[in-house]
């Protein structure tokens, strides 16, 4: 299917329109998303930031329909996922590589066999799988650890396996759900650098969902701030930081400035 071209000439990779998600609970319905509109362009690094409970994770899971929206449309690489049947949806999900906070690696498989999993699922031939796995493990600098089990890897190494696995089947989008939230600051920095390199070298669109301001400020081109199930603000990172409109954005900017002060203090002390 041919992707729609917009007036500004950009090709949207992900488009959400009017996405709502309600969960039925014993104490009544909970509205996690209340009409989210977003457009993520091809080749950009887009950040979705919000506090816990704002609806970030639900939004992430609505993009590959791990969670089916109650209303609205989700278009990825030109295909309306909400309109697809089970088998077409499985096919379409291969366009979206997903990276998880807790890595979600199979403990029964070595690093290389974890990376091979999506290719096995897609029916690749063993020789093709072996070649692709070596190529992608070399890219994330894990060839030396290929025969180790997840339990024998550090957090940063596990996440690099997770990223290699997400990249293996040549997706058009990388969806990172709190991908650095379980990592220490130094490891976070190395993972962010890797994501940047992936964006630069493959031109891959990356969507980052996080509650960490440092992540979006150092990585993203544009961001959307989500609050109480709604996008309250969106735009280029520098613009939003200079003139924060919503309370959530102001809180995040203040927190980031606080961190800057700490960094400065540390530098002075040294």
């Amino acid at each position: 299917m041919i992707a729609l071209m917009y007036l500004d000439g950009r090709i949207p990779t992900i488009e959400l329109s009017g996405v709502e998600k309600r969960f039925a609970t014993p104490s009544g319905d909970v509205e996690a998303l209340r009409g989210v509109d977003l457009r993520i362009d091809s080749g950009e690094i887009f950040g979705i930031i919000g506090k816990s409970g704002a609806g970030k994770s639900t939004l992430a899971r609505c993009i590959n329909l791990l969670e089916r929206p109650t209303a609205g449309r989700v278009t990825v690489a030109g295909r309306d996922l909400t309109a697809l049947g089970p088998s077409a949806l499985r096919e379409a999900r291969r366009e979206i590589g997903m990276v998880f906070q807790h890595f979600n690696l199979l403990s029964s498989r070595t690093a290389s066999r974890n990376v091979a999993l999506p290719l096995e699922l897609a029916g690749w031939r063993p020789a093709q799988i072996a070649a692709r796995v070596s190529e992608i493990l070399a890219f994330v600098d894990l060839l030396g650890q290929r025969d180790r089990y997840p339990a024998q890897l550090s957090g940063g190494q596990k996440q690099r396996v997770g990223i290699a696995r997400a990249l293996a089947s040549h997706p058009s989008v990388l969806l990172c759900d709190e991908a650095t939230s379980a990592l220490d600051p130094q490891t976070t920095a190395s993972i962010l650098a890797l994501l940047k390199r992936i964006n630069r070298e493959f031109g891959l669109t990356i969507l980052v969902i996080t509650h960490e301001m440092g992540v979006v400020s150092s990585l993203c081109d544009r961001i959307a701030v989500i609050e109480d199930g709604l996008v309250v603000e969106q735009g280029p990172v520098a613009e939003l930081f200079a003139r924060p409109q919503s309370a959530t954005t102001r809180d995040f900017v203040t927190a980031l400035e606080g961190m800057g002060d700490v960094t400065r203090t540390l530098r002075v002390a040294r």
Binding site: N64, L66, R90, E91, A92, R93, R94, I96, M98, F100, H102, N104, L106, S107, S108, R109, L117, P118, E120, L121, A122, Y149, P150, A151, S169
Partner: protein
């Protein structure tokens, strides 16, 4: 130990091994798919199906709540149909298998339920079909727990097989009752119990070693 006693013990030991071994193999082959279906059809799982889940669950629970000695007698007509006789070691395999299958199914179901839901989601995000999720994610990840559970089942079945003497099934338990108890042969009783203890120890240690070898966590 007399030559005659040694021959008796050897024959009974072999009968116990055959009974438990064959019954364990068949009930594992049947219990794993049954456990997978129980897990997959449970609410909020891969293929939720309230009707299948409830019917299978009820059958499994009913079989498990029937005392083995009663199950064995109740199954005599079925045993006759399957093996042609209701007496002897092959006949004892039938009730033993039918008693062990639901037990193993529940062990498999619990082991699959304990697999991190995040792994299932990761596979779904990769476009895996429910069958692929079972084959490539759930069963391999649950394997150490399944093997530990099968060890448990094997030990329980060694205990149950002793009751098979009631249908003339032979085995060590039968020997202990006929010679050790009814003929007051303390030496037979002691030897039988010693062999059973050694057998259970062997099975348990073997299972533990296997679990340690396949668990990479």
């Amino acid at each position: 130990m007399s030559h005659e006693l040694f021959a008796l013990l050897a024959e009974s030991f072999e009968q116990t091994l055959v009974m438990v071994g064959v019954a364990l193999a068949i009930s594992t082959a049947a219990g794993i798919p049954l456990g997978v279906i129980l897990h997959a059809t449970a609410p909020r799982q891969l293929l939720p199906n309230a009707a299948i889940y409830r019917i299978l669950g009820t059958v499994v629970n009913a079989t498990r709540s029937t005392p083995f000695i009663i199950l064995m007698v109740a199954l005599i007509p079925l045993t006759r149909v399957i093996v042609g006789t209701s007496i002897g070691t092959p006949a004892a395999i039938v009730p033993l298998t039918i008693a062990a299958t639901p037990f193993i199914a529940r062990i498999v179901e619990a082991a699959l339920r304990d697999v991190d839901q995040g792994l299932v989601e990761a596979a779904q995000a990769m476009g895996a079909t429910p069958l692929q999720i079972v084959a490539k994610v759930l069963l391999p990840e649950a394997l150490p727990a399944v093997v530990a559970g099968l060890t448990l089942a094997a030990v329980a079945m060694i205990g149950y097989s002793a009751m098979a003497g009631a249908v003339g099934g032979g085995g060590l338990g039968d020997l202990a009752i006929r010679y050790g108890y009814e003929r007051f042969r303390v030496d037979v009783m002691a030897a039988t119990v010693a062999i059973l203890i050694a057998l259970v120890q062997f099975v348990q240690s073997g299972g533990d070693i296997l679990v340690r070898r396949i668990r990479h966590a």
